[in-house]
Each structure stands twice: as C-alpha cells, then as structure tokens.
C-alpha cells in the first residue's frame, strides 16, 4: 500500500464517531445509573461534532478512500447530516421513556451510535463488501437494542422475529451479490456498472442475481410482499426502539437501494423497473388497506410505513434524476414526519402506561391542544394534504413518474393515498372529535417539548417553503450520479 495516497479525510466523521463511541463505551463502565445523563450528553455532543465535520468537509464531488471501498459524495453528505440530526432527535425523544423502563443504560447509547456508524457505511459504500458490512452493523445493533428490554416477552419476541427475518433477507442479498460477482467478476459498484454497460456479462445470471437483490432490498425497506416483519416488530418493540427502527434506517436503506440499483445496476433499469412497480403498487395497496383495520397506532403506523415505502419506490421506478431526487426528498420528509408521530406517542406514554391505541389519543385536543396540533400536522403530512411537507413529497414522485409516461401508476398512487387519508383522518377524529377517556396529566420534558415542536412546525414550514430542501436533493443527486 502506498501511504502517500492514503487520504482518510472522506471518512473523517465516521472515524470520529467510532472514536467517540469507544470513549463513551469505556466511560460508561465507571458511572452509576444516576449519572447516565453524562454519557447521554456526550452522545449528543458526538452527533453535533459529526454533523459539523460532515458539513465542513463537504465537497461537490465524490471522493474515495479505503481503496475505493468508501465513497463520500454530496448525496451521502446530505443523508448523513440528516441521520445525525434524526439520531439526536430520537435520543432526546426517548430519554424519558427509556428511563422509565430501565433502558437508559450505556448500551442504549453505544448501540444507537453503532447503528448510526453502520448506516453511515451503508450510505457511503461503493463496494458490495462495505455495503454488506454497513448493513450488518446496523442490523445487529438494532436486534440487540430491541432485546435490551429483557423482561418483556413481547420485545424479545419481536427482536427474535426481526433477527430471523433480517438474517434471511441478508442471505438473499448476499446470494444475489454472489451471482452478480459471478457475472461481472467484480464487487465494486463502478466496475459492475461498467461490465453491465459493456454487455460482456452473462445476462441470465445478472437477472437472477437482480431478483435476489431486489427481494433482499424489499425486505430491508419493508415493502410488500416482504413486509410481514414490519407490523410485528413495530408493535412488539418498545416505542422508543420502534422510532429508532422507523426513522434514520429508512434514510440509510434508501441510499443503499440507490447505490445498488442505480449506481451499480443502472444498466439494468428496464429489468428492475418492472419488479419495483409491482412491489410499489402492492405496498401502497396492502399497506393502506390493512392500516384501516388497525386499532393499534403502532401497527397502523407500521402499515402506513409500508405504503410510504411504496411511494418512495415510485421515484426510483421513474429511473430519472428527477425521480431519484424526488425519492430522496420523500425519504427525508417521511422521516421527519415519523419522528413527530412517534414522538407524540412517546410523550403521551409514562411509567407503566404505553400510549399505543387509537383510544389513547381520544380527546387529546381537550387534554393538551398544542400536542394535538403537532400530531395533526404529522398526520395530515403523512396523508399528503397541502400545505404540509408530505404533499410535496408525494407530488414530486408523482411528477417524476408522469414524466416517464406512467400515468396509470400515478392514478393508482393517488387512489391509494385517498384510502390512506381515511385512517389518518380517524386518528385526527380521535384527537379532536372524541371525548377524553384518560385524563391523566401529560408531562413531557422541556427539551423534548421544544424539539418536538420545532420538528412539527418544520413540517409546516417545509410545506410553505420547500424549495431549499428540494433544490438540495436535486443538486445532490445530480452531482452524485454524474461523478461516479
């Protein structure tokens, strides 16, 4: 190895993250439960520093390190900054909840940060090996996080389910990768793309590999027909961890899909377009229709996630830069919205009480009209009603697919979002129209209240002025996809 060429700068934030993570891990051994807040604060500081480093090392082109295994491009920069913010927000939202349930331990922070490190690698990988490593680091951290609540049978069960099905999905993915390796002779995404473009690769083998890859990715995204784990895991995990699974990992999974399908297998767009179309339509249909039947909010939001993943895939199906940036915008808005939704559930839960059914929301407007308003913003944003951010997300992906003359898909999508509107409305109805059932006071920590408010208002602000974020996504996609 030529040491002069070893430029580790592109991975600077990751290296800092790992270092800080190890310090937190060690430090935590020496402090008592009462002082856990020290490591909690250190974790937040770490995230802030990471974001700072990420922004300051921003370059409008792609740079590689670790022998081309690791790529740092504008797309990954934006998504990583978003993930730092999201992870920090999740920590703030879950502090009280986790403390009440005895989850507020050193492992909680370190595993969350390990998961983040894994996500960073998923986002920045340019090789099948590093992609897979990132994915596994994320998944293993999440499995153990869910199982952290050892005395809860439900949490353990859901960790087990997540683990078994996640391992199956990883297996599918690996199998697909091995076939692609066989066909193209490389694990590097750029080389694979080149080999496909040259037409020298065995077509049959490529398509076979693609099928496995798409199945594995759909598993990770939670898209139909590989969605069965989503409601069970969302429901079974403690709400804090449901939020952890449902927020940042979706961003990482999105970039993961873009890296493999667009950057690696972009030459086979005609092949995966059709598969994704079927998956997207099924996800939107089954997700939305099944959500109607749910009375448990966590399950309802799980099915709603499935349908959102269907929408997100629409952007990829378009196969154009506009489509990819629309999907990226969708992913970011989706995560912001999910944070508010679960944030409210966390805030309404207290020691010995889980807020998780529709009934628990009843009369929220009379109990606390501010929280009701925040939740209202989140729900209407998910339903895609203007002037909330969710509308532009749906709008952008639909615009992208109409651009490639898939009008029928656009019509299916809007009809599905009509069905979706029904259950979001039902939650709004519970909050605003129904009488209070449980009038116990709501005590939300001050910092959480502040962050949650900013978070929800952001949905409205993004709804009135979405241009900055949309333009950022468009730019990032343009720069990242041309420089590879």
């Amino acid at each position: 190895m030529n040491w002069a060429d070893l430029n580790l700068m592109p991975a600077l934030p990751e290296m800092f993250l790992l270092g800080a993570l190890l310090v937190i891990l060690m430090l935590d051994l020496f402090i008592s439960d009462a002082k856990r807040v020290i490591t909690y604060s250190l974790s937040l500081v770490t995230l802030a520093v990471c974001a700072f480093l990420q922004i300051n090392t921003f370059e409008p082109f792609a740079s590689y390190t670790f022998s081309g295994m690791f790529i740092d491009d504008p797309m990954s920069d934006i998504v990583k900054v978003a993930m730092y913010g999201v992870t920090a927000t999740v920590l703030v939202y879950t502090r009280q909840y986790a403390t009440d349930r005895g989850l507020f331990k050193g492992e909680y922070f370190t595993l969350s940060l390990f998961a983040l490190l894994g996500m960073n690698f998923m986002v920045s990988a340019s090789n099948f090996v590093s992609l897979y490593l990132g994915l596994e680091l994320l998944s293993l951290s999440l499995y153990s996080l869910i199982a952290l609540q050892r005395d809860s049978a439900r949490a353990t069960e859901s960790a087990m389910k997540y683990f078994v099905l996640g391992a199956l999905a990883s297996g599918l993915l690996l199998y697909g990768m091995s076939m692609l390796y066989g066909a193209t002779g490389s694990l590097d995404l750029a080389l694979i793309a080149k080999s496909i473009a040259s037409g020298s690769a065995n077509q049959t083998l490529l398509v076979f590999g693609l099928v496995f890859i798409v199945a594995g990715l759909a598993f990770k995204l939670g898209a139909v027909p590989f969605h069965m784990w989503v409601p069970d895991v969302y429901h079974g995990a403690p709400t804090a961890l449901t939020l952890m699974i449902g927020a940042a990992p979706k961003l990482a999974a999105f970039v993961f899909v873009v890296r493999i399908l667009v950057q690696g297998l972009g030459g086979m767009v005609a092949d995966w377009q059709g598969m994704l179309a079927i998956i997207a339509v099924l996800s939107m249909a089954i997700g939305n229709i099944t959500a109607i039947a749910q009375t448990n909010l966590k399950r309802m939001l799980a099915y709603s996630t499935i349908s959102h993943m269907g929408f997100l895939l629409l952007g990829l199906i378009a196969g154009t830069p506009e489509g990819y940036s629309a999907a990226m915008f969708y992913a970011i808005v989706y995560v912001l919205t999910t944070l508010v939704g679960f944030g409210i559930l966390l805030g309404l839960s207290r020691a010995g009480f889980e807020c998780e059914t529709l009934d628990d929301l009843k009369g929220l407007n009379s109990r606390n009209s501010w929280y009701a308003l925040l939740m209202l913003l989140a729900l209407f944003s998910m339903a895609g009603i203007p002037p909330l951010a969710g509308f532009y997300a749906k709008f952008a992906v639909i615009q992208a697919i109409v651009n490639v003359n898939l009008v029928w898909l656009a019509v299916v999508a809007v009809l599905m979002s009509l069905i979706g509107a029904f259950y979001y409305l039902r939650a709004v109805k519970a909050m605003y129209f129904d009488d209070v059932q449980d009038n116990s006071p709501i005590s939300m920590a001050g910092d959480m209240k502040l962050v949650l408010s900013i978070n929800a208002i952001a949905l409205l602000v993004l709804g009135v002025m979405p241009e900055r974020l949309v333009a950022m996504c468009v730019q990032a996609m343009k720069l990242s996809l041309t420089t590879l």
Binding site: S369, L376, F395, I398, Q399, V402, A410, V411, V470, V474
Partner: protein, 498 residues
C-alpha cells in the same frame, strides 16, 4: 394602495387566524372573539380595493403578482384576478365577517379554535380564487379541507363525525385525480404549471381531452355538488355549525363552479362541448329532482341544503349551454350572478335557521309554528330571504335565474321549460317551510318562550338584507365587472383544440 393587494387579501386572515389561535383556552374567549372580528374586518377592508379599483375595461388578469416559489418543481407563486374571481374573493371576505359575528356567543366550546379555523379557511379560499398557478391553486384548494373537516367534526351536530369524514374523502377523491391532470398538463405545456399556459395549449387530442375533463369534472362536480355526487352535502350542512353551513353554501360550493370556468371549459373546450348534453341533463335533474326532494324535508337545514344543490344546478346549467361551439353569454353571466346571489341568500337562510336553533335547539319544522308572534323582526327578515330563495323579482335570487332561463330559451325551449320549474318548486318548498315555521298559532311552549333577535343578530340580518336587495335592484354593479372576462372566456372556449 399596496402593490401586493392579493397577497394581503390572502395572508391577512391567515395571520389573524394564527393570532386568534395563540390566545389559547376558553378563559380568554372574549379576546379571541374581538381579535377574530378585527381580523375578519381587516380581511374584508383589504379586499375592497379589488372591487373599487378593478378596471372593467381591462381584459385579462389584474392585480398580478408573480415570483418563483418552488423552482425545482416548476411551481410559481402567481396571483391575479379577473372579473370572475374578483367577485368571489370579495364575497368570501364579506361572508367571513358575517360568520365570525354569527358565531359570537353561540360558540362557547373552544372559541379561539373555531374562529381561527374560519379565518384561516377564509385566507385559503381567497388563495384558491386568486391563484394562477395550478399547484398553488391546488394547495389552497386542498388546504381548506383541514379547517373545514375540523369545523364540522368539532362543533357539528350529532352525526358530525360521519359527515366530516364523508365530506373530506369525497372532496379528496375528486381533487387527487385533478392533481394528476395538472401534472400531465405540466409536461404538455412545456414544464409550467401556469393556468394561462394550460389554457393556451393549442392542440389536445380528443380522447386526452375527455380524460382530462373527467378528472376536472370529478373534482369540481363533487365540490359544486352536482347530482349524483351531491350526497355529502346534506350531511355536511346539517351537521355543521351555523357558520360552517354559511361558508360551505356561500363560498366553497362556488369554488367548484369557478373551477369549471377556470379549468375545465378553457383547457379542454372540445370535451366540454361534447359532454355538455350530459352536464345539462345532470343539472336539470338537480334542478327538478332535488327541488322535489327539498319539498319533502322535515329538517329545515336539510331543506336549505337541498335547495342549494338545486340552485347550483342552475349554475352548472348556465355554464354548459352551448349554441354551436359558443356558450351563451346570458346563461354564463346568469350563472355567475346566481353564484354571488346564492352566496348571500344561502348564508342568510342558514343564519336564520341558526338563530332559531340557538333558541329552541331543534331543526325540525314540526317543532316550530307561529314564530312570527314572538319574533316579528326576525320573521320579516326571514320573509325577505325566503322570497329571495324562491327567486322573487327585486331580490338577487331572481336576476340569475332569469338570465339563465333567458339563455336557455335561446338554446332549447324544453331545457328552458324544465329549468323554469325551479321558480315553482323553489317557491313551494321555501314558502311552505316558511309558512309552517313562522305563521299560524304558537306551536308549543318552546316557541312561546322565544325572544326576538338581539343587536348582533339584527346587524348580520340587516347587512345581508341590504346585499340581497341591492343586488336584486342593481345587478349591473356586478355584471359590469364580469362582462369582459366572460366574453373573453366565451371567445376562448369557442376555439377548438383538436
């Protein structure tokens, strides 16, 4: 005068609404009410220059504002009004003021939220009428569903949940397809959402036009509402609080009809021409059949709701009367006059019912009788509005119906004959209800305890009465504003895009 009159008209009520919302709980309800009145009054005052400074001799859009909004998606913040939309903005700002006054002491539960919802909705409605960018229009058009949903659901009657969800989903169904149509047109018009660019498209094949028309039709027909997609309206109206019914009838229905004029007719004229017999038929069904349905209602609010549908049938009828490929000028202008007039009259009718409901807590005709003995002033006002609702000459209700029938005679005698039955049915159901409720012996002890209108109610009734009479006696004030815009529209629609 400000250069940004339209922005002011849109944002003043919205900002006022947010301020009202910030007053918080019911302990500061009085502050919320005064703020709301101030906000609504400010909203109305800033909208007046639109009417007074409108140039009747200037075709096209006035008070135009344009700037890029979401560049990456091709959406502009483009506002402007012509002689058609301007009238509705002023009407809406006026109605909002009436609604805030109407809900003054009636709404005791979450007053601030109630007032805020109306103010915010008023701004959104103004936005929908002023938008010249299709997506901007859509944002306002859909955004108003949120406050309306809450208004019906929180402050409505016993079946409010059912009514609010039905209202929301019905309207959303139509508008989502329209969104796809907009996006399709965006690419056809060279990556722009400008409504004027959509209208200027020179060639659209017939089958595409028909599909686009259907998308627009579903969206706007639900909003109007036309038979047979009208069924949400009686539910929503009946369960909504008085203010909600007033806004629904006076304004939101008009957005549907306005949508036909702004989108469906000029963008896809050939499809509109081809499908016009269907629409005329549906409108006539609304006029005749729904008029008969109104006759048998036992609930006053439902009766007025059905009467609204029947009157709106006149509006759609007027818009789709073609001779050759030309719309009939009389009929289109009549439809517009009918829309404005119906805005005043239906708001007044719902307010009258609200006045009685607040005292007796019943909407059943059978629970009343002899109200005139106890509330003479009220009875006199209601008499005027009932007459206007049945289309008596010298009230605003007459002008529009007369003009549409005039237009219809020129097109087809039998269409005109059927349309004219409204003068009989309208009079029958309105006056029969009036007779049963107001005249006769005092019906029961509830009626015996009635007290006449208070100052606030008198104020609202008097203002509405002036509007109804003024428009009946001098419709020219409104017609001259819209004349040039209507002519432009007709000229535009006459040019085939095949």
């Amino acid at each position: 005068m400000f250069a940004n009159t339209l922005s002011l008209v849109i944002w003043t009520p919205i900002v006022a609404g947010l301020l009202v919302l910030a007053t918080g709980g019911d302990q500061r309800a009085m502050l919320a009410r005064w703020l709301a009145v101030a906000g609504a009054l400010a909203g109305f005052v800033v909208s007046l220059p639109l009417f007074t400074q409108f140039n009747n001799l200037h075709g096209g859009m006035q008070f135009v504002e344009q700037m890029p909004w979401i560049k990456s998606l091709g959406i502009n913040y483009h506002l402007g009004v012509d002689g058609i939309s301007m009238l509705f903005i002023v009407l809406n700002s006026f109605t909002t003021l009436m609604v805030v006054l109407a809900g003054w002491e009636v709404i005791q539960k979450r007053t601030a939220q109630y007032m805020a919802a109306f103010l915010i909705m008023s701004g959104l409605i103004n936005g929908a009428f002023a938008a010249l960018d299709a997506i901007l229009f859509y944002v306002f058009f859909e955004g108003m569903l949120i406050p309306m949903y809450l208004i019906i659901g929180v402050w409505g009657g016993p079946r409010r949940v059912y009514a609010s969800v039905k209202f929301f989903l019905y309207t959303l169904l139509g508008s989502l397809l329209m969104l796809v149509a907009f996006i399709y047109l965006y690419f056809q018009a060279g990556k722009t959402f400008e409504i004027e660019a959509f209208q200027a498209l020179a060639k659209i094949p017939r089958d595409v036009q028909i599909l686009l028309f259907i998308a627009f039709f579903l969206s706007f027909a639900v909003k109007v509402p036309m038979w047979p997609v009208h069924t949400w309206l009686p539910d929503a109206h009946v369960e909504a609080p008085t203010g909600g019914s007033m806004v629904l009838a006076a304004i939101t229905l008009k957005i549907g009809a306005y949508g036909f004029l702004r989108f469906a007719l000029p963008i896809v004229p050939d499809a509109a021409l081809q499908l016009s017999p269907v629409i005329v038929a549906m409108s006539l069904v609304a006029v005749v059949y729904i008029g008969l349905v109104a006759l048998v209602q036992t609930d006053m609010k439902k009766l007025v709701a059905y009467s609204s549908i029947s009157h709106m049938g006149f509006v759609t009828l007027g818009m789709f009367l073609f001779t050759g490929s030309n719309q009939n000028v009389w009929a289109v202008e009549g439809a517009l006059v009918q829309m404005v007039s119906h805005g005043f009259v239906s708001a007044a009718m719902f307010f009258c019912i609200g006045v009685m409901y607040d005292r007796v807590h019943s909407r059943n005709i059978a629970d009343y009788g002899g109200v005139a003995n106890k509330m003479p002033i009220f009875a006199a006002f209601m008499m005027l509005f009932a007459m206007a609702n049945s289309g008596l000459p010298a009230t605003s209700g007459f002008v529009g119906e007369f003009m549409v029938i005039m237009g219809a005679v020129q097109v087809n005698f039998w269409v005109a004959a059927l349309a004219a039955t409204t003068l009989i049915f309208g009079a029958a159901y309105t006056l029969w209800m009036y007779k049963r409720v107001i005249f006769g012996e005092v019906g029961n002890h509830h009626v015996a305890e009635l007290t006449d209108v208070n100052k606030r109610e008198f104020l609202v009734l008097a203002i509405l009465a002036i509007a109804v009479l003024g428009m009946g006696l001098y419709p020219q004030a409104f017609v001259e504003k819209m004349h040039l815009s209507v002519n432009d529209l007709i000229a535009h629609v006459a040019i085939s895009k095949l």
